[in-house]
């Protein structure tokens, strides 16, 4: 079950996601490549993750579905902007690859990684986690459906157990 990026990509197609906002993360690199290769998706690389929150509101205003791909540290950049999702009742699904999680090597990643879920929940986001590859599909599908069907910010956190920890050759 190493093909979880393919599983996510198939779900983005199934749910007719037209705008993909992202700040790159190594954990999302395969998914990003697939999105870039798909002419039906507009991939927008952001300078900071909060731009994606505004963009998702704009997409929904114009009748398109969107998603935000980011690393857990980027969640911290989104905090105030997430007010827009609650204020306007806008579907804003976020797929977050975790750092500062299981097996982390870099101490700088730990504070935001450990705060990611509480911060999202404090801003009204419905959060689920996937820590096994076989759980990614169901978790991401729930996140997309919950956002588009009930008009709110939602997130799936994809654990570092799935992605693998970056150890700079110091395992």
């Amino acid at each position: 079950m190493e093909d979880w990026p393919e599983t996510i990509f198939a779900l983005l197609r199934k749910y007719d996601v037209k705008q993909v906002a992202l700040v790159p993360d190594a954990g999302h690199s395969r998914l990003i490549r697939m999105c870039l290769a798909d002419n039906a998706m507009r991939v927008v690389t952001l300078t900071t993750e909060e731009e994606g929150i505004g963009m998702m509101l704009g997409a929904w205003l114009g009748g398109q579905r969107s998603v935000l791909l980011m690393q857990s540290s980027g969640v911290g950049n989104c905090i105030n902007m997430l007010s827009l999702a609650t204020l306007h009742r806008t579907p804003m699904p976020m797929l977050v690859t975790m750092r500062g999680d299981y097996g982390e090597f870099n101490p700088a990643q730990v504070p935001m990684g450990q705060a990611t879920q509480p911060v999202l929940e404090a801003m009204g986001t419905l959060v689920n986690r996937a820590d096994k590859t076989e759980d990614v599909g169901a978790a991401v599908e729930a996140t997309l459906k919950f956002a588009y069907n009930t008009y709110r910010p939602t997130a799936t956190l994809i654990g570092q157990r799935i992605i693998g920890a970056k150890t700079f050759g110091k395992d």
Partner: protein, 193 residues
């Protein structure tokens, strides 16, 4: 120095199907003073996000002109979005910064543009080819025409008088503001999505 309400009135005259996103504070009051309509999204929060909302909307609705009107403080907070938007360059998006060189809603503190920061140069540096400075009312009509033309991404900074205007508040309920614009664009089916 232009009068901000006169500027908003001129830019939004005979607007047809133009959609307008306005940054929080005075720009939101300005577009509401011109006339509240479902084609307006006046923001109450999300400082720094107005231009990106415009980007998402412009990409989703390429056949409609989308205009973002915001202040210098709001644009500075989301300044990186100029790079993001320049790369996408939707031809139906225009951004107008009403630059009074002050944070008007919080007591009139000076912004960076008061001290020489040049938003037109920053937009050009980001790669927005049509980035212009508006200092007189006769430069407004060409900008308005460009915003309607859907012929290329346009960025403009208009130097405006820092004087505050009477408050003209739009609805505060964000769900209403979103739903009414969706209905204006997508019809009643928008509510069944």
């Amino acid at each position: 120095m232009l009068d901000r309400r006169e500027l908003a009135r001129a830019v939004l005259s005979e607007r047809g199907d133009l959609l307008c996103v306005a940054g929080l504070g005075a720009p939101a009051w300005d577009i509401t003073a011109v006339g509240d309509t479902p084609q307006n999204l006046p923001l109450w929060g999300g400082m720094g996000g107005a231009a990106m909302i415009g980007l998402g909307l412009a990409l989703a609705q390429p056949s409609r002109p989308v205009l973002v009107i915001t202040g210098d403080g709001e644009m500075l907070m989301g300044i990186g979005s100029l790079a993001t938007i320049a790369v996408q360059a939707p031809p139906n998006l225009s951004i107008l910064v009403q630059d009074n060189e002050h944070y008007g809603e919080t007591g009139g503190q000076e912004t960076a543009t008061r001290h020489g920061v040049d938003l037109v140069a920053m937009a050009k540096g980001a790669g927005i080819r049509d980035a212009r400075l508006i200092t007189t009312m006769d430069q407004v009509a060409p900008f308005r025409a460009a915003a309607h033309a859907r012929a290329g991404l346009v960025f403009a900074v208009a130097k405006i008088d820092a004087a505050s205007k009477p408050l003209v508040l739009p609805p505060r309920e964000g769900a209403l503001l979103q739903a009414r614009m969706r209905e204006a664009i997508l019809g009643p089916a928008a509510h069944l999505e």
